[in-house]
């Protein structure tokens, strides 16, 4: 079975490949490190693909070869059938002769053909035969020839063939479960056997098999990947557990492992190459042997075919001769007188010569006993002549008359009839030739045709044989003994065969006569075969011998076939195997290169790891060094500074003082630098921990602003802060670090911004910027609009100078989009400046410690360049990110995020409220109008005013605001609009309008001037003279200096708008205190605020003074007084007042009597040294209005007085 043969061959290859793949897997499993694994997976992939490719290639080549084989088979069968048809014609001629066996034969043929079809259809081919059909055909052909009369045997054969086919089939079916077992056992094997399996079953489903292979490989890959993932995770865990201890070990193991895997790969490659070479060798051997086998088979087929045909033809002729013998016996011996004479015989034989194309002549010799010789000779009129003594008698062109009369013998066999062609042998005694005599004797004894050994025929000089049949004169039983036969012999019919012409003719009929050389031998004498046909033998390698059976059991003939030419070199297998070899080598080369690359990369990686470890160690060492050295410097430095401080306290002259101060400042700078370095080292060592304290982010901004406002004013830079209204009042985090980061950034911005532009700090919630389309915040919106470069020059920045695009500064933040927890608040702080910007090439390293944009920077601006690095570390600690956008000459915008927790608003509020709330409540109902061209600046102003609790309107110009302003005035709602804030920029445009309005107001309703909204000018920096000038114009009430922040505003309003003077001026106040010092101090304080103070030293005096009617506006009373303490005095005063009030309300006394006051209630403020809750309550209980601490604190005093007077009025 050619197919199976091939497949088994390829199976061997497959199993080897499978083995290889398993090896690959092993190496894969062995691998540990993920990189090598990846490489191995890749390698495995490549291997897999190569194997599939090669398997595909081989199978497809086999397939095509198989197909071509099949087609070749078909071709040959076709030709054979043609030949067979040819021979069938001859068979039919036979049939016409033996009409009796006709029917049976045809049946036999039909059955054979049927069987043939069956066998070809069901079983492909038995193993080890290329084209079995031919073989079978040939065999059966022989069967047919042999068992023409015994057809049942053929039937048996058919049965056996069919029976044979069943075991084969079961073998095939047994084979398949075996295969499927394999499939189940070996996963990879399945994959690789798939094609084989499919090939066995159905070649067309090879594609499906390949798909399976791919799926298998993918699954395997995934599986491996999963395994590896788990392994690496485990490893990671392990590493996490003991990072330091394990690192070295892992490195070591990795090192060892990579080497081992490298060796594995090398081995694998070598194996692969060996397999490639071996495979190509096998392929070559297999294909060439296949070709040789086919050649042998072809030769055998052709030879057998020729032999069979020759035999057939000969047999046919023999039968004819036999028939002739019967004819002679019938008509010559069976009739008296004989119906046959020489003439008739000659004519008949001549005319029926076509039936015996191979015989050169037929002759009949009569058996003549010596006793009858004379009679016979007389009867025929000639003497019996002897053949030549020599064997060459027949060969020579002899004339019978010249021959001698036969010597006296027992028996003669003179030829009486002869075909015309051999009429010269009439009267020659056949018994005289040795060969002929033997022949005749054998023929009559056996009763069958007998052949002579080849000899040279008379005349034709060709080699020939003589066939002799005995003719019996009586009916013989089939089991007659030879003696009986001899007895019954009447004569002998001989026919001479011209063998070379016979063979020539035969060969002529067949195709491809050129390719083979045929020799026919008589091998009766095995030691000295006689060549019957054929030329000299040239050894061309292959020889096929087919036996020839000419019907004479004593004579043996053989046909030797040879190819005319030696086989050519098998180019196809050479090409294929060389191709496979080349492919293998190429793949090997590729793999080798890959392996080398892998090894190199692994080596590099290892080196990198080592370098990394060393670098990290160096970094740690550096940090430690810095920390140590900084500390060591700091200690003596403190001494230096202290000594300098003391030196400055001593008596120094000017220049000495100057030197000392310089030294002190320098020392302080040095200390601050060292502190920064220490701080950085501390962060890097991971020793810094964040606090979790509730704080106000807005307050942090204010602090930063107050810290830098002076510096900003000096440089003429506008400094502003802004917090979005979504930023909560209280968050929990580390306020110090938060402030530090902002201060760092602002400090940098101020440092690198020269005398123009602004520095602008803003806080937003990170989620505010998530969706750019959904922005409500004014600052962010302006920033968004600012993206367009062409709009840069417009007025939508704080100072009108172009700035970097803040949106870009947080573009790269990854966590920005992730944060969405309700508990966590992510604040986004942006610091924007209009400074010199950061050069593009330096932007990548600005967060590196000690790295400033360029070395000239530190010369020009000073600083260590550590600030941003610290900021970055702090931001990282806060779980945030820091980023920036910077354009040289335009400015930088830094952004960072920080994660904080939501704080309870209460937690901080007490302190906050204590400090600011009174003022905030003061401003709560007030309304302000901000007029500013720049929206951002207006937003900043509004933010600050809103923090005070005001409601704020913003308008870009007064013109537009004018209408609503006048409107409010007209409807006497002016009280609501408490103030107008105008930016200095807008001032020049607006002042005329404002002036006009103001004038109008003043002229119109003079008494209402107080109620007219106060007008403030917002200015950044103004000289004193300018200020006075503006004030003197009388339009504005005052000038507010920027930067604004809460405490500044409060301070400002307290001083300028609601200051104590305003409250206390011209108020008559009674101070009651027994302590002269306290009295004096209180008097001094109150007088300073413009109050008219009267002092008394005791409760009684106070009662006397405060007996209505009196003209005091308030009373400050000490609580602890001898004789009568403050509580008692207050109670008595209230009692008195109540009496008077009752009188007035009861109509007993007129209000005129008590100073035209309808209700008496003098505000009494306690003065106490211990401001505790209990004393506070006691104060309230006994009718006091409020209390102030003693000694006075201005804020508290102010608050108390405000409350009291508001209440009073």
């Amino acid at each position: 079975m050619s197919v199976n043969g091939r497949v088994s061959g390829s199976n061997g290859r497959l199993s080897s490949s499978k083995m290889k793949s398993w090896k690959g897997n092993e190496s894969l499993h062995v691998s540990n490190s993920s990189t090598t694994c990846r490489w191995k997976l890749f390698l495995f992939w490549v291997f897999g693909v190569v194997f599939i490719g090669s398997v595909w290639f081989i199978f497809s080549s086999f397939n095509s070869k198989h197909l071509s084989n099949e087609s070749a088979c078909e071709k040959s069968t076709e030709t054979l059938l043609q030949r067979y048809n040819v021979s069938r014609k001859q068979l039919h001629a036979l049939v016409s002769l033996f009409s009796g066996s006709d029917q049976i034969l045809s049946n036999c043929i039909d059955e054979r053909r049927l069987q043939m079809l069956l066998s070809s259809g069901i079983i492909n081919t038995p193993p080890q035969s290329v084209c079995p059909k031919n073989h079978e055909l040939q065999k059966e052909r022989r069967y047919v020839a042999e068992f023409i009369e015994q057809c049942p045997i053929l039937d048996d054969f058919v049965h056996t063939r069919l029976g044979l086919s069943f075991p084969w089939k079961t073998y095939v079916t047994l084979d398949s479960p075996l295969l499927s077992n394999w499939l189940n056992v070996l996963f990879c094997g399945k994959v690789l056997l798939g094609p084989y399996w499919n090939y066995t079953i159905n070649l067309s489903s090879l594609v499906k098999g390949c798909c399976w292979v791919l799926i298998g490989i993918i699954l395997f890959h995934k599986l491996c990947g999963f395994c590896l993932l788990r392994k690496s995770q485990k490893q990671k865990k392990v590493v996490k557990k003991h990072p330091a201890a394990q690192q070295k070990r892992i490195q070591h193991s990795m090192h060892g492992h990579s080497k081992a895997s490298g060796r594995w790969r090398k081995k694998l490659l070598v194996i692969f190459l060996l397999f490639g070479i071996f495979g190509s060798g096998c392929l070559f051997w297999y294909m060439s042997s296949d070709i040789a086998q086919r050649r042998v088979e072809m030769l055998a087929t052709m030879c057998d075919e020729r032999a069979r045909m020759l035999q057939d033809q000969f047999n046919v002729s023999m039968n004819h001769v036999h028939a002739l013998a019967i004819l002679v016996s019938t008509f010559h011996h069976g009739k008296h007188p004989s119906a046959v004479d020489q003439n008739i015989f000659g004519k008949y034989t001549e005319s029926s010569a076509f039936e015996r194309p191979l015989t050169s002549g037929v002759a009949y010799a009569l058996k003549v006993l010596h006793s009858d010789r004379v009679h016979f000779e007389k009867q025929h009129g000639w003497t019996i002549k002897n053949m030549e003594a020599e064997n060459e008698a027949l060969v020579q062109d002899c004339i019978p008359e010249n021959l001698d009369p036969a010597p006296i013998q027992d028996e003669y066999a003179p030829v009486i009839f002869a075909q015309e062609t051999v009429s010269h042998i009439v009267s020659i005694d056949m018994m005289s030739g040795k060969e002929d005599r033997e022949n005749i004797l054998r023929a009559r004894a056996s009763g069958k045709g007998v052949l002579t050994s080849p000899f040279k025929l008379l005349k034709s000089n060709h080699l020939g044989v003589v066939l002799t049949f005995a003719v019996y004169n009586s009916e013989l039983p089939p089991d007659a003994t030879p003696d009986q036969r001899i007895e019954a012999t009447a004569g002998y019919l001989g026919a001479s065969y011209d063998v070379p012409s016979l063979v020539d003719k035969l060969l002529h009929q067949l195709a491809s006569k050129q390719t083979i050389v045929v020799n026919v031998y008589d091998t009766t004498n095995a030691s000295a075969p006689i060549t019957m046909y054929g030329t000299d033998v040239i050894d061309t390698g292959l020889l096929h011998i087919s036996g020839l059976d000419f019907g004479d059991p004593l004579r043996k003939h053989e046909m030797h076939c040879r190819f005319k030419h030696r086989p050519r070199l098998p180019w196809t297998p050479i090409y294929v195997s060389v191709g496979v070899f080349a492919i293998t080598f190429l793949l090997g080369h590729i793999f080798h290169a890959a392996i080398n690359q892998i090894a190199k990369v692994e080596d590099d990686y290892r080196q990198m790891r080592e370098l990394l470890v060393r670098a990290e160690a160096a970094d740690v060492a550096k940090s430690q060094f810095l920390a140590t050295v900084s500390h060591e410097i700091r200690t003596p430095m403190n001494g230096v500074l202290g000594m300098l401080q003391m030196l400055m306290d001593t008596d120094l002259d000017d220049s000495q003082m100057d030197f000392a101060q310089t030294a002190h400042t320098s020392g302080k700078d040095l200390i601050s630098v060292i502190n920064e370095v220490l701080y950085q080292a501390k962060i890097e060592a991971g020793k810094l921990e964040l606090e979790t304290v509730a704080f106000h982010p807005q307050a942090i901004l204010d602090e930063v602003l107050s810290l830098f406002s002076e510096k900003a004013n000096e440089k003429g830079i506008e400094l502003a802060v802004y917090a979005s209204n979504q930023v909560p009042q209280v968050v929990i985090g580390d306020p110090k670090r938060f402030r530090q980061i902002i201060a760092n950034l602002v400090g940098n911005s101020l440092k690198f911004t020269h005398d123009k532009g602004h520095v602008f700090v803003s806080i937003h919630l990170a989620k505010e910027v998530k969706n750019p389309l959904d922005i409500t915040d004014a600052v962010l919106r302006e920033g968004l609009m600012n993206q367009d470069i062409s709009e840069r020059t417009c007025n939508n920045t704080l100072s009108g100078f172009p700035v970097g695009n803040r949106w870009k500064s947080w573009e790269n933040f990854k966590k920005l989009k992730l944060m969405d927890e309700s508990e966590t608040i992510q604040l986004l702080v942006t610091v924007e400046d209009t400074g010199i910007g950061i050069p593009t090439d330096a932007q990548s390293r600005i967060f590196t410690p000690f790295m400033q944009a360029d070395s000239s920077t530190s010369r020009t601006y000073g600083g260590t360049g550590i600030g941003l690095s610290i900021s970055k570390c702090l931001v990282d600690l806060m779980g945030g990110e820091i980023g920036f956008v910077s354009e040289p000459k335009i400015g930088s915008t830094f952004s960072f995020t920080g994660n904080f927790r939501k704080g309870e608003t209460k937690s901080l509020d007490e302190k906050w409220q204590q400090k600011y709330n009174p003022f905030v409540s003061e401003f709560r109902c007030l309304k302000a109008l901000v007029i500013d061209r720049r929206k951002i600046r207006a937003a900043v102003t509004r933010y600050h005013l809103q923090r005070l609790g005001m409601s704020v309107d913003v308008n870009s110009s007064l013109q537009a605001a004018c209408f609503c302003l006048s409107d409010t005035c007209k409807s006497s709602m002016s009280k609501q609009l408490a103030m107008i804030l105008i930016d200095k920029d807008s001032w020049d445009n607006e002042c005329s309008i404002l002036y006009a309005i103001k004038k109008q107001r003043q002229n119109g309703i003079k008494e209402d001037t107080l109620n007219f909204p106060k007008i403030f000018l917002l200015a950044n920096d103004l000289s004193h003279s300018e200020r006075n000038e503006l004030k003197s114009a009388g339009i504005i009430d005052d000038i507010l200096m920027k930067p604004l922040w809460l405490s500044v505003l409060i301070q400002y309003y307290r001083e300028k708008v609601f200051k104590l003077e305003n409250l206390l001026i011209q108020k008559r106040i009674l101070v009651v205190d027994d302590n002269a010092v306290n009295r004096k101090v209180a008097e001094g304080v109150l007088r300073k605020y413009g109050a008219v103070v009267t002092c008394v030293d005791g409760g009684k005096a106070a009662l006397k003074m405060l007996k209505p009617p009196h003209n005091f506006d308030a009373c400050f009373m000490d609580l602890q007084m001898p004789e009568m303490d403050g509580f008692e005095v207050t109670r008595q005063i209230r009692y008195m007042e109540n009496e008077v009030n009752e009188k007035i309300t009861g109509g007993e006394a007129l209000a005129e009597m008590f100073g035209n006051v309808s209700y008496w209630h003098i505000p009494i403020l306690a003065m106490t040294a211990d401001v505790t809750q209990s004393s506070n309550e006691e104060c309230k209980k006994c009718g006091m209005d409020d209390y102030v601490s003693k000694p006075f604190e201005e804020d508290q005093l102010y608050m108390a007085v405000t409350r009291v007077f508001n209440f009073g009025s």
């Binding site: 306290d649 302590n1075 002269a1076 010092v1077 306290n1078 101090v1081 001094g1084 300073k1088 040294a1169 006075f1192």
Partner: protein, 157 residues
């Protein structure tokens, strides 16, 4: 060299003040007191301090006589005196005197006569020290005022 002496005196005064602050003798209340001094009341501080000295000496005498009594029992009176003392001291910002007074008060609350006596001694000592220093300060201020007032420089002693 106009105003040179005044400047020097100003520096002297500041130094003295800084020293007193440093020692904790005075606190910022004294500065507030100084701020109350303006054109309308040029001698406000010295006035207040003089009243304080006057009052304090009275109180100290009272305290001493109270503590020196053979059958001493009136701690209440001592406390009243001390409260007065504390009030006035804290008003002028005499920090150390105030704290000694508080200690004194605590001792008197515990009826600790020995402690009271010790505290009284300390109080007297502190008071004397304060008085001396303040006198020194006022002297310098006077000189400064004089120096600022004259047109020609004056060598300071």
């Amino acid at each position: 060299m106009l105003g040179f002496g005044a400047d020097l005196l100003w520096a002297d005064m500041n130094r003295l003040l800084a020293f007193l602050f440093h020692q904790g003798v005075l606190d910022e209340q004294f500065l507030q007191l100084q701020q109350l001094q303006d054109h309308t009341s040029p001698n406000f501080v010295s006035e207040v301090v003089n009243i304080y000295f006057h009052e304090s000496e009275k109180l100290l005498n009272n305290l001493r006589s109270l503590l020196m009594e053979r059958e001493f029992s009136d701690y209440k009176k001592i406390e009243i005196h001390l409260n007065q003392f504390i009030g006035s001291s804290s008003s002028i910002g005499a920090k150390r005197v105030t704290s000694v007074c508080i200690a004194f008060r605590a001792a008197s609350e515990q009826d600790n006569r020995a402690g009271c006596l010790r505290a009284l001694e300390m109080l007297e000592h502190e008071y004397c020290y304060l008085k001396n220093k303040l006198h020194e300060l006022f002297q310098i201020e006077q000189q400064r005022a004089l120096a600022a007032g004259v047109r020609y420089p004056m060598q300071h002693q």
